[in-house]
Symmetry: C2
Subunit: 345 residues, 2 copies
Amino acid sequence: MVRKSASGRIGIADVAVKAGVSHATVSRVMNGNFTVDPDIAARVRAAAAELKYQPNPVGRSLALGKTDTIGIVVPDLANPTFQAILRGLSRAAAQDGYRVLIADSFEVSSEESILAGEARRRCDGLVLCAPRMSDAELEEIAPSLRPLVLINRTTAAAEVPSLVVDYGQGVQDIAEHLVELGHTRLAFLAGPPRSASNGMRLQGLETFKAAHPQVEVTMLEGGSDFDTGHEAVDAVLESGATGILAFNDLVAMGLMSGLHERGLDVPGDISVTGFDDIPFAKYTTPALTTAAVPITELGEQAWHQLRALIRNEESAAPGSSRYQPRLEVRASTGPAKAPRSKVHG
Amino acid sequence: MVRKSASGRIGIADVAVKAGVSHATVSRVMNGNFTVDPDIAARVRAAAAELKYQPNPVGRSLALGKTDTIGIVVPDLANPTFQAILRGLSRAAAQDGYRVLIADSFEVSSEESILAGEARRRCDGLVLCAPRMSDAELEEIAPSLRPLVLINRTTAAAEVPSLVVDYGQGVQDIAEHLVELGHTRLAFLAGPPRSASNGMRLQGLETFKAAHPQVEVTMLEGGSDFDTGHEAVDAVLESGATGILAFNDLVAMGLMSGLHERGLDVPGDISVTGFDDIPFAKYTTPALTTAAVPITELGEQAWHQLRALIRNEESAAPGSSRYQPRLEVRASTGPAKAPRSKVHG
DNA sequence: TTGAAAGCGCTAACAT
DNA sequence: ATGTTAGCGCTTTCAA
C-alpha cells in the first residue's frame, strides 16, 4: 500500500522512508545534484517512480523564493491584439520553463493596480499590457511591480522597459496612402478614450494635419470592436469623408459590413483602413488595407526583456524598444471618387 | 526607515515588530479574525499600511494547501474557440477570487499529460480542453488531475465531469439545411485528425448519410485554420460538391476567400458553412451560415463545475452536460444551381 | 557522501 | 484576547 503523508498527497518524506534515506538526499536526487552516490540515487529514483512522486511546486517556491511563473495583465482578453500578445508571451516563456498567469481587468482601470499587485506577488515578474491607469498611478506602483515590462505604455519609473508600437507613425503612413489616392476628406474612428495607443494615433494625426493643411480630418468617437464600427456608419456618412481610418481592424471590419448593408461599395464609394493586421484582415472582402504590427513577436520580446530582469536584477537593464508598423495595402482602399455631398443623418 | 526581513520583502514579522504584537495576531487581523481587540487590530492595520505589507501568497498557499488558482490546458491558444473558452473561464473564476494559469500544448499531444500534471500541481483544479491524447492515456492520468473538468471530451474515469458540444448533431443540422436548399452533393472539410470534435462531426455525417442515401458526401482532408480552407479550393472544386461543410468558421472563411479569388460566387455557385459562430462570422462577405456554439458560456460552466468539485470533494459530483449548437442561417448558403460538371484538378 | 536542522512566510491548534 | 509553537513541503547550510 502506498504510504501518504497527512495531506493525502505523496511528499518527499514518503520517498525518503521508502528509499531508506533522508529528505535531504531525496531533494538532492530530484534536483540532479551529483554529489549523491549513484546506487543511492538509483534507489531514490526507483522509490520516487514507484510512488509516482512529484515535488510540490508550492513548497519549492517558498524555499527558493521563485515560482517560475510570470503574470500578464490585459485590459480585455476578448481583444485579438491582447490574445496575440498573450500567445507570443506564453510560447516564449514556456520555452524557458515558465508558465503564465493571466489577469483580465475588463477595461476597469480602477481594478488594474490591484490585479497587477496580486498577480505580481504570485509570480516572478509581470507584463503590464496597455494599462488604462493614469501616468501618475502607473509611475507610483511600477516600482512595487518589478521585474516589470510595459507594453504600449511608458513610465518614468526606473528599470521598467517598455515595448511600444509607433501607432502615431502608422496612422500617418495610412493617411499619406489615402492622400496619394486622391482623398481630401478623411475621418478617424477613434478607440477607447483611456487607451494610450489611441492617444498616439491622435498625435500622429495632428502631425499629419500640420503637414497637410488642405486635407480635412474629422474625428469620430468610437471604440475597439466590430459593433463600434458597425454602429458608426451614420456618423461616417454624415462626415462626408471618403477615406476612413478605423481605430483597428475589428472596427474597420464592422464598418465595412455596415457600409455593405447600406449598399455602399468599398473602395468604390469609400476607402476603409484598419490597424494591426490581425489574421482575419487579409480574408475580409475586400481585403483590408491596414498597418501591420508584429504583435506576437511583441509578446515574445516582452518575455525576453522580463527574463533579463529576472535573471540578474542589478545589471544592465534592457532598453525600451519601438516597433514600426508596416503599411499593408490591400483592396479596401482605392482612388477617391468625385466628392460626395453630405448625407443627411 | 522601513525594516525588511532577510528576503528583502516585507513580511508578517516586520509588521508584528512594528505593531508590537506576535506574528499570529497580525495573521488574524489580516484574515479578518474578529477575536482581536479592536485597538490592537487598528494598530496592526496601521503598521501594515505604513509598511505597505502584502501577505505572501506562496507562504499562504503552503499553509492552507490551496492556491486560489486553476489551470487550463489548451491544444492551441491561437484558436478562437479556445480563446473564448479561456475568456469565459477566466471571467467566471475571477468573480470567485480565482486566477487562471494557462498551458498551451501547441497540438503536441505527447506533451499534454506532462503539461497538465505540472499545471495541476500549482493549482487547485484543472480544465482540460479538447485534449488530443488517447482515451487510454486520458483515463489513466485523469484521477491524478482531479479536481478536473473536461471540455469536448469524455472519460470513464470517475468524478470527472465533461462539457461537450454536440458537434454531431450540429453537423447534421447543417447538412439538412443544405439538402433543403436542394444540394445533393456535399463535401466535408475535416479538422485535425486527433480532434475529438472532428470525430463527432464524422459520426454525425454517418448518421446523416444513413438517413439520406441519395446525397453524395465527399470527405476532404483539412485542418482548423484559414489557410487550410484557402488551400482546399482545388480539392473542393474537384469534388463537384455544391454544398461545403467546413470544419469550423475559420476554415470556411479561408475557403470563401479562395473561392472568391477564383471568381466563384458564394452562395451562387457554391454554398459554404462553418461551425462555432465566432464573432467574425456575421461580418464575412457573405455572412456565414454556421452552427452557433455558446462557447464563452462553456468556459463559464467549466468553472462552475470545477468550483463545485473544489468546494466539496466528496459530495455529489456534478454531472456532465451536452451543449446543442444552434443553426444560424446567413447569406453564405443558398439554393443549389443545376449540377456542375467536375473540374479538372 | 549523507543526515540533522534551520528556514522560506504563512496559518492554526494549543496554551495561557 | 494573545502569544507560543508546530507544521505546510521543500532546499540548503552545516556537521559529521
